[in-house]
Each structure stands twice: as C-alpha cells, then as structure tokens.
Amino acid sequence: MKKTELNKTTEATPEKTNGMQRRSFVKLLGGGIFIFFQPWDIFNLNDLTLPQARTLTKDYNAFLQVAEDGTVRCYTGKIEMGQGPITSLPQMMADELNVPLEKIKMIMGDTDLCPYDAGTWGSQTTQTFGPAMRAAAAEARGVLVDLAAARLGVPATQLEVKDGIVIDTKNPKNKVSYAQLAKGKKLEKYLDAKPSVEEHTKFTYVGKPYKHADALVKVTGQAKYTGDIKLPGMVFARILRPPSHGAKLTTVDVSGAEQVQGTQVVRDGDFIAVLNENQDRANEAIVKIKAEYSFNELKVNDRNLFDRMVGADSRVNVIRSTGDIEAGLQQSDRIFESEFHDPYVAHASIETHTALAQLENDKMTVWAATQSPFGLQDAISRDLGFPMEKVRVITPFVGGGFGGKSAYQQGVEAARLAKMTKKPVMLVWTRDEEFYYDIFHPAGVYRIKSGIDKTGLIKLWDYNLYYGGSRGSDTIYDVPNSKTTSYGQNMDAVQIHPFGIGPWRAPNNNSNTFARESQIDIMASEAGIDPLEFRLKNLKDEKMIACWKAVADKFGYVPAKAPSGRGIGIACGTDAGTWVALIAEVKVDKSTGHIKVIRVACAQDMGLCVNPQGALIQMEGCIMMGLGYSLTEEIVFEGGNIKNRGFDNYEIPRFSWIPKMDCVILDRKDQPPKGGGEPVIIGIGAIIANAVYDATGARLYRMPMTPARVLEAMKKA
C-alpha cells in the first residue's frame, strides 16, 4: 500500500463507538445470536496505522450470527479473489459449531455489514483471522448449549451437538435445534478471552479436501463481478489519461468527443471524462479528445535504473545483525561477492480495476474490485468529502488481485464521477490503464558478500538490498556473522521509483529468495559440494530440513556437484510463517537460450492445513505464476512512460509452459495454520537460475531470465 494513503491514527472512543456500531449491525441484521471477535496478539488494532477520519472499534473485527433460521453467517471485511477463504473459513466454523458446511454463509467485504478490516493480503486470512473465527464459533456453540440446557432442563455437560441439533445424551428424544434456540433472540456476546477450541482429532471438516464452494456459479457465468452489475440509468466512463507519469495537461479540446452520440463530457481541472450509456461509444469519444502535455521526464529507464539505485543518496537501515562482519571476513577461507537485479513486474489480473458508483440521496455506494474495501471507503470519504457513514463499499467476486487490488484508485474515480453527474457510473479500466496505473512489484538491487571456511561452513553473510522490500531477506542459514541492510528512498533525495509500487504476491520475497539462493548455489559449486548437501550442512532449522527431506524424496533427488549438465536447481525459504523447499528440472536450448521448465517439486510446512485441496491449488498456482516473473515479465519504461501495456508485449505464463508438478504438504495438524497462497512462488526464480547454471555453467544475475540474457551469460561462462 502506498504510504501516502495512510495517516497516523487518532484516538478512537472505543466504548461509545463499539456500543453504537454493534447495535447498528444487530439492528440491520435481524435476530439471533451474535458473537463479536477479533484476532488476538498478531492483529492488534492499537498498533495499526489508521486513517484519521476513522473512529474504530478496538475490541472486534468480525462477528458471527446464528440466525433465527439456524443459518450461521460470518461477517468479515476479508474478500474472495480466488484464493479460497469462501471455502476454507466455513470448514473451520463448521467443526467448532457442529453444523453442516452448507449451513454457513460468508458475508465478505461490505463496509455497511462487516466491521473494519485493513485488507486481504499477506496470507493473513487463515493464519490470524482463522483461529479467532474458530474461537468465536466455539463460543457461539457454548452459548447455544447453555440455552439448550435451560430449555431442555438438563445440565450442559449432558448435551452433545450433531448437525446443528443439541441432544440430551441420556434421552436422545429430548433435543432442540440451533434455529429453535436462536428464534426470537437478540443476544450479543463479545469474546474477550481466548477459549479453547476443538482438538484436531475431533475435526470433521478441517483438514479434508474441499473443492471451490463457488465453482458452479463461476462455470455457468452467473458469478457476479463488479462489472456485471447494472443499475437503471447507468453510464460507462472513460477518463482522459496522460501519456506518461509526470506529464501535465497544457491544452485540451473536447469538442470531438461531444460529437459522439449520447456523450457527456465532464471536467474538473485536469480531470476530464466522457460518459455514455454504451461502453463502445465512450471508447470512441475518449480518443476524440485532443490534448497536449508538457513533459518533465525523469532521466531513468529500465537500463540505467539499477546503477541509479546503488548510487543514490539512500536512507540506510540495518534490519538485523548477528556476530561481527569483520570477524566473518577473518573466519572465511573464500569470499564471494555478487549483485542481483530484479525489474518492475505487473500484477496483470485478468479482471481490470473496475468500479460502479451510485449516489442516492446523500449516500455514496461503490461496488469495487478491491482487496481493501475499507481503504476505499476511507479514500472516498477523505477525497470527496463524504462522512464515513455516508460511504458504502461492496465487494463482489474479485477477478484476481495478487496485491494489485490493494490499490483502489478506480473506486475513487467512479465515485467522483457519480458525484459530479448524479448518475450511476461504471468504470472499467482498459488493459492499457491497468498496466499504466499498476502499483508494480518494485525493482531492486541485491548485493551479497558472503564467505565460507575450508569445510564449507558459511561464516559471513553481508546482505544489502536496494529499493526492494525486506520480506524474505532473513538469512535462514546458521551463520555466525551476518547483517542485513536495506537502502530505501530518502525523501530529500532524487525520487527512485518513477511510478507506483506495491505488494505483489509474497511481496519481494521472490527477489530476496532469488538473490540468497543463487548466492548459496555459487558457494556450493565453488566449494565442490552438492547444493543440497551444502544447504543441509549450513541449516539448523528443523522445519526446513524436514521440507528438504520431503521434496528430495518426491523428486528422487540424486546429489551431484553443479554444474552437472542435468539442469537441476534447488532453493528454499520461508514466507507467511510457512517453510518451503523446491527442486526444478529445466532444459536449456543452447542455440536460442530458451528455458523450458520440465518439472517442479516442492514441499511446504504450513502448520495445520485447513483445506488440502485449496492449498494444493495455491501451490500449483504459485508455480505457474512464478514462471512468469522468472522468465518473461518485466516493465519496459523510459522516464514515466511505460512501454508495455498489453498482453502482446507483456508476456504472462501460458498453457505450453506447464511443467510436471509434484507438491507435498507436510502433515502438521498439531501446529497453528500458516499462510498458503504465497510461499511456493518465492523459490521459482531461484530454482530456475540454479537449474540453468547446473545445465550450462552460466550464472544469471538478473530476472527475468530471457533467452537473450541466457545466451549472454553462456558467453561469459
């Protein structure tokens, strides 16, 4: 998320706000039993940086409702974008409440119905939200059993619950359903202690594979994404865009656009848009606007960027340090210095940023493809001057996010147009706009100085990252002397990133893992040790070692010193609390430099795996998406002008790229659940780079590993 979008929090008045908000939710949603909750410890609302305007409840972040018909609803600001919480969260609740899975409904990402949530990212939904939700479900079950005990006239200890029915174990005819218990009730409970939850041995739903709960509506075209909603009188908008970031509008003539049948042109300063009830005519009109711009181009492009980063006057931050770098130099027998480069990468979801805004009476309702409905609500309130309660954001199905939809500019734009025109406005960003306004994965430089002793033990690890993020920059290996330093934007110095940057699936861990695991391979090869043996020699982390054993077994790994000519590459890392180890086999066409990934095996320890089917699909998705950043994806730019803005010149993975995939999830039912949507993607660049080295003896220091770069590296090898 862009820093500018967040301001420091002001003191909320929790008692007052809570009471009011809880009552307003309860009023809105009819009767039943309500359990309010929030994820403890990790998700501490007091530590969150919140927008100024938001008065926030500090004691809950979501709630459950056992409705009068026995349906269980969970209201949460989290959203579904293909990563699967609509399937996995109900599994957790069903077990705690002892109700059939189909009785559970998820109400997600609606700012009027759901309490505040910062956003859906960072693989937090299962690992921090999930356990809290399970505890709330357990609490709800407790409340229902107590009610049943009173109703049935027997002690609670004598009762058991099956499929939403509370039964007297001594007299099975003496029973009452959740629906009967909730009927006519308005019971609110706030969960303030962490209750015990079901033992994993008692799980009925958790840990079993379930297919996507939303598959049927998605294969029949019935699933509603933002762009599929239509309101009476709705018009489609197109907005006049500058040709490059930083360009300023100097003259404009909109008369051509006004000639297009049914077109309304609106203007507020440099913000100019055309509106038409027909999307094609809006498209026709926008290109008829004649506009001229002045340019003040930054002298930066995709070729000189990396030198600029290293040479910049940066803000320096030592992230972590152990031992002493000087001592490390002394203890090392051989020193290795490398520099790795990584470009800007686009999110390229197939659904572009889309929003529909409607102003009714004085309330603005916006349907938006976003990972942050509450962030958008804040932005509309702040930028367009609406009181917070007069803005409602609703999140229908989202057609892919990957971090890119944590930005919500399109939602503010649609709302602005609805405010200006008093009409419902649909804004569907074009593919060109989607690339142009993307908050890219940040480019970065990664410099490593490392050393090993005579036996191949790592004694020195001096890791420096320039302008990328630090997630995944941990050393992981057992190194006595190590230091990780981040070089970032100094606000007083020259601006480094010429356009927006933001989180991209496992933000920056892909780059850090590429750099670290390449460097480890370089050292293993120079030491004449098999790369897996070298890693195991330097690892103490038992979870990582277990992942290595599992993946080596699955792959049928045979040790050899690289380059062996076989084209096998390995890597490991951690992300979102999950451990992962990977092995790839590639073929390199030595005449063209083209890399074909034949096979990828991976093993992950993600703690309790709630839905093994969903987790497996996420692992496969990570492998496929990872091939893109590794092999082809790179933003080409000159100053603020982004050159590739379409699928014709920005290539994402295709069907012919599919490698054989073997994914293993370690059985860790006794451990808390961790993230599963991102970890595997972190190692794809590294396993390919290491496999290319193993195949050819050529080392690649820059992603993506295009045929031209492979040929160049082979020449140097």
Binding site: M81, G82, Q83, G84, K211, H212, D214, A215, L216, K218, V219, T220, G221, Q222, A223, K224, Y225, G227, D228, K230, F236, Q261, N278, Q279, D280, R281, H347, A348, S349, I350, E351, T352, F397, V398, G399, G400, G401, F402, V428, T430, R431, Q613, I617, E620, G621, C622, I623, M624, M625, G646, F647, D648, I652, P653, R654, F655, S656, W657, I658, M661
Partner: protein, 158 residues
C-alpha cells in the same frame, strides 16, 4: 444510425436494435444482460470474451455486432441445456479448474468450440488450442485435465 439485427442467441431467435458498430461483447453484457462473457483486454489477446458463433469459438471484444446477423451465438449462459451442465463445465467443477473464475467462461467456451470440431483431442492438442487464452491465477494444469476429461466423455457418450 441504429439497425435491427436478427440472430439466434442461446437457442432463441433474437432481434435487437442497436448501433451496428458496437462490439458483440458489450451488446451481450450491457444490452442483453449476459455478463458471463468477460472483458479482459479488448484487443483479442486474453480470450476472456470468447463465445461460440456458428459453433466456432470466437472473441467478441473486437467483433462488430453486425457480423452476427443471421448467425447462431452461444454464450456461457447458454451452454448448459435443460439444467444439465455441458461436459466441459462439469469437468471444470470436478477438477476444480479455476480460482478467481474470471477467465473461466472464456476457457470453457474455447474448449467447447474445440471439442465440437474434434472430440478426440489429445492432451497436446488441448494445450495448443488453449494457448491463446490467459489465466493469471495459474489454474492451467487443472484446466487441461478438465478438458481432457470432457473430451473423453463426449467421445465415449455421444
């Protein structure tokens, strides 16, 4: 400027009055309320807007609606018949061949078109036939599995 255009849509005779230069994609989505056909790039590179025209998989995002006069159009909404899913739809559910689901209608329509031409497709032919359809979530391998299953069913069954 507007013209009357007659064609068959999902099995039903249909007549619309519209600007003949509008694209089929937006006529379907906005005028006819069939929003299963998706906008992804507007330039024919992603395949999210694929429909069947005279039983052939075609991208609707750049096609003037006048081109479909007298023809038969089938969209994702018209693929299931009599409440029964098309074998490709059924196989997508069985194989969990989707994540966000946004490219899914285009994938299914492309596959359905391929299977009309040749129900005896090999795995490699399925890969080749879907090569120009883009999925960002990475459901690729399951999509191929699903189409292979559907091909087997269609070849064996009818």
């Amino acid at each position: 400027m507007d013209e009357k255009i007659r064609f068959k849509l999902n099995g039903k005779a249909t007549e619309i009055t519209t600007d003949p230069n509008q694209t089929l994609l937006w006529v379907l989505r906005n005028q006819l309320g069939l929003t299963g056909t998706k906008y992804g790039c507007g330039t024919g590179f992603c395949g999210a807007c694929t429909v069947l025209i005279n039983r052939e998989a075609t991208r609707s995002c750049m096609l003037p609606v006048s081109d479909i006069a007298g023809k038969e159009v089938i969209t994702i909404e018209g693929l299931a018949r009599g409440g029964k899913l098309h074998p490709v739809q059924k196989a997508f559910v069985e194989h969990d061949a989707l994540q966000c689901g946004y490219c899914t209608p285009g994938m299914i329509m492309t596959a359905a078109g391929m299977l009309i031409k040749n129900p005896a497709l090999t795995r490699q032919e399925i890969v080749n036939g879907l090569e120009q359809n883009l999925c960002r979530c990475g459901a690729h391998t399951r999509i191929i599995d699903a189409v292979e299953t559907a091909a087997k069913e269609m070849k064996g069954g009818k």
